[in-house]
Symmetry: C2
Subunit: 357 residues, 2 copies
C-alpha cells in the first residue's frame, strides 16, 4: 500500500510578516483555498486516504496539525522533539510506517509547495510508486527547469532503466548543489537536468536498508520505533532524537546510494521559497502588480502586494514587495525577497518583538 | 485686547493614512505632545488665555473641537456650514470678535503648523500686535526661507516703516505665487523675500474696513454677525454662507490693500505640507531613516517611517515613506509625497473605502 509522509516542520521565515514562529508557511493560506498543508493533503485524494497519511512535525506544531487534519489518525502525527534535518525525519517516519505496513511504499512530500494540476501530480506519484515497488529503488521526483535557477539543487539523469505510464526512470548520474548562473544556463540547455524537489518515493524496505547502509547511527537509534507502540514514541524520541546528527536525506543517502532513480514530474511546481516566488500565483492588474487583499495603487507597477487585512495604498513605486498584517508590515524590493529571513532573525534577537515574529 | 482666531477646517489629505475625513491633520498627534490643534493653543499660553481664543471649523469637526478644547467658550467655536476658503472664514471671525471687543486686535493662525520655540513665537506675535494697534495696518508674518522652496508663495518686502522689539515691519512690495526653482533660488539669494505663512495680525477695525473696501459682498453678508447673539449664528450662517464666493484672504485683500506690512518671524516654522515635511521632526537612526513608532530596518536608508501601531519591517529600501495604521498602509517615494492626495481622492470615489479615508 502507498503511504504518504508529509514533512511539516518548516519555519517559513521568508514569508514574514504573514508567517510567524507559531504560524509557519504550511499553515498559511497564501494561494488557493485552505492552508498549504491542507492543500497538500487534499491533492492526494482519492489516491491516498487519511488513514495512510503521516505528518512529521515539531512538538509545537503538532496540536494545530491534529486540529487541521482530523481525518489523519493521531498516531500518524509524528512530532520531532528537536529539528534534525530530513534524514532523521524520514527515518523516523519509515520505521513508524514499517510498523503498520512493512511491505508498503512511502512517498515523502514537503507540506508547503504549490503543485498543479492534481491529476498530473497523482499520475507522477502512481507511476513512481509502481517502479519503486517493482525495482526496490529510491526514486526522486525531478522538476523540469523552466529558467536557469540558481536557488535549487539539480539532478543529472543517466541511463534510462524503466518506464511506467509514459514516465521514464533514469539512474541519477549526479546531484549538483545550487549552481552559478552560467552553469544553471548550461544545465537548462542540456535537457539532462531536473531540479531537486525534495519529493521521494520508495518502499519502506528499501529506505530502511539504505539507512542501515549509509546512516547506521540514525538507523540503529530509531530502529526500535518499528516495534514500539505509538503511546511510547514520545518518551523514546525525547531520549534518542536530540543525539542524532543534523543531516539531509540528499547528502546522507541520495547522493551516495547506487540504487537511486529520477523521473521528471508532469505537474507544475513552486516551492514558494519567498514572496517573490508567489508572483505568478497572484492575480495581475493592468500595471503588472500582483495582489491579494485590499490594495489601491497610483502610478505603481510590478509590485507584489499581499494584505491579510489592512488596505495597502501605493503611490509611485515599482518592483516592491509589500505585505501587511494587522500588527506588522514588510516593505522590500522584489530582488531582495530572500533577505526577509535576515530581518526575521534580527527580530528574533529582540525580546520585544516576540509576538511579532 | 489680543484675540486669536485659529483656522481649523482643513482636511489634511496628504497625511493619509493617519489622517481621515473625520480625523484631519489638526487632530493628529504627529510631532511632540498632543494634537496639532492643542499645541497651537498651548503655544499661546500665557499670552492669550482661552477666553480670547476663537476657532473657525467645519460643522462636522466642531463637536470634537469643543471636547478637545474645553477652556474655550462654546460661543467661540465657529462652525462654517460649508467651506468657502480663508476670506469668508476670516470675515466670519472678525465680526464675531468685533461683537465682543470692537477695539481689539486679532491674530489669525492655521491649526496645523509646527512652530518653535514658543518664546520666539510669542515675541513675534506681541511685536506685530503692537504695530497693528499703532498703525492700523494689516500685518502678515513672513518666514525666512531656508531653501528655494517651490511649494510656497513668497512676499517681497519694500520700505521699512516701523520697528518693535527688534522686529522690522516693511511695506509689502508684492506677493508672488509659487515660483519655479530658478526664481525661488533668486528670491532666496536676494534676502528680500519671505514665505507666506498664512498667519496674520490686524485690528478688528482694520480688517473690517478692508473687507468692506475689497470684498463688499462678503462684508455686507456677514456684517449682521457683529450684533447677532451667538445662539442665532447657526441659522444665520446656514442661510447666508453658502452664497459667499470661494476666495482666499491673500487674493481678496492682502494682495490688493495698500496698508499691508510684513515682518520676518523669529521662530522656526513648518506647515507640514506632506509626510516629507515631517522628516526633520522625527528622530534619525544611523542609516538616516526618520522614524516614529515601531520600525525595524535592514540595509535601508533615508526612509521616513511612521507607525501608529503595527511594526514596520524594511529590507533593502531607500527614500521611501512608509506609514502604517492598523487598517491602512501607505508606501510612497519621498519625492512623491504630494501625490498621496491623489490616492486619497481615488479612495474617496469608492464606497467600500469609506471608513478608511
Amino acid at each position: 500500500m502507498l503511504h504518504v509522509v508529509i514533512m511539516a516542520g518548516g519555519r517559513g521565515e521568508r514569508f514574514w510578516p504573514l508567517s510567524r514562529t507559531d504560524l509557519p508557511k504550511q499553515f498559511l493560506n497564501i494561494v488557493g483555498h485552505g492552508t498549504m498543508l491542507e492543500q497538500t493533503v487534499s491533492r492526494l485524494k482519492p489516491m491516498v486516504d487519511g488513514s495512510r497519511i503521516w505528518v512529521v512535525t515539531t512538538v509545537d506544531q503538532a496540536p494545530a496539525i491534529r486540529k487541521l487534519l482530523p481525518r489523519i489518525p493521531a498516531s500518524h502525527i509524528l512530532p520531532e522533539p528537536v529539528g534534525r534535518n530530513t534524514a532523521p525525519c524520514i527515518a523516523l517516519a519509515a520505521y513508524c510506517v514499517g510498523r503498520e505496513d512493512p511491505d508498503g511504499e512511502m512517498v515523502v512530500l514537503p507540506a508547503d509547495h504549490i503543485i498543479s494540476p492534481k491529476r498530473e501530480f497523482q499520475k507522477t506519484i502512481r507511476a513512481s510508486s509502481q517502479i519503486a515497488h517493482q525495482t526496490g529503488s529510491l526514486i526522486t521526483i525531478g522538476i523540469k527547469p523552466t529558467f536557469p535557477a540558481t536557488g535549487y539543487g539539480y539532478i543529472r539523469r543517466g541511463k534510462k532503466v524503466a518506464e511506467s505510464a509514459g514516465y521514464s526512470f533514469y539512474r541519477v548520474s549526479r546531484f549538483v548543489e545550487k549552481p552559478d548562473q552560467n552553469r544553471a544556463r548550461r544545465f537548462l540547455k542540456s535537457g539532462l537536468f531536473t531540479w531537486n524537489s525534495g519529493m521521494f518515493i520508495w518502499s519502506v524496505e528499501a529506505i530502511v536498508e539504505a539507512l542501515h547502509q549509509h546512516l547506521p547511527g540514525i538507523a540503529t537509534a530509531l530502529q526500535p520505533l518499528g516495534k514500539l507502540p505509538p503511546g511510547k514514541r514520545r518518551a523514546f524520541l525525547k531520549r534518542v532524537y536530540p543525539e542524532l546528527p543534523n543531516i539531509s536525506i540528499d547528502y546522507g543517502i541520495m547522493e551516495k546510494d547506487r540504487n537511486v532513480l529520477v523521473t521528471a514530474a508532469s505537474f507544475n511546481w513552486n516551492d514558494l521559497g519567498s514572496w517573490e516566488a508567489l508572483a505568478n500565483h497572484l492575480p495581475e492588474d493592468a500595471d503588472h502588480n500582483r495582489r491579494r487583499g485590499d490594495v489601491v495603487s497610483l502610478d505603481s507597477t510590478d509590485c507584489i502586494c499581499f494584505s491579510a487585512g489592512p488596505l495597502i495604498g501605493l503611490v509611485g513605486v515599482s518592483n516592491l514587495i509589500v505585505v501587511a498584517t494587522e500588527d506588522a508590515i514588510l516593505v522590500c524590493p522584489r530582488e531582495k525577497a530572500q533577505e526577509v529571513k535576515k530581518l526575521v532573525q534580527a527580530l528574533r534577537r529582540k525580546n520585544k518583538y516576540q509576538g511579532l515574529v
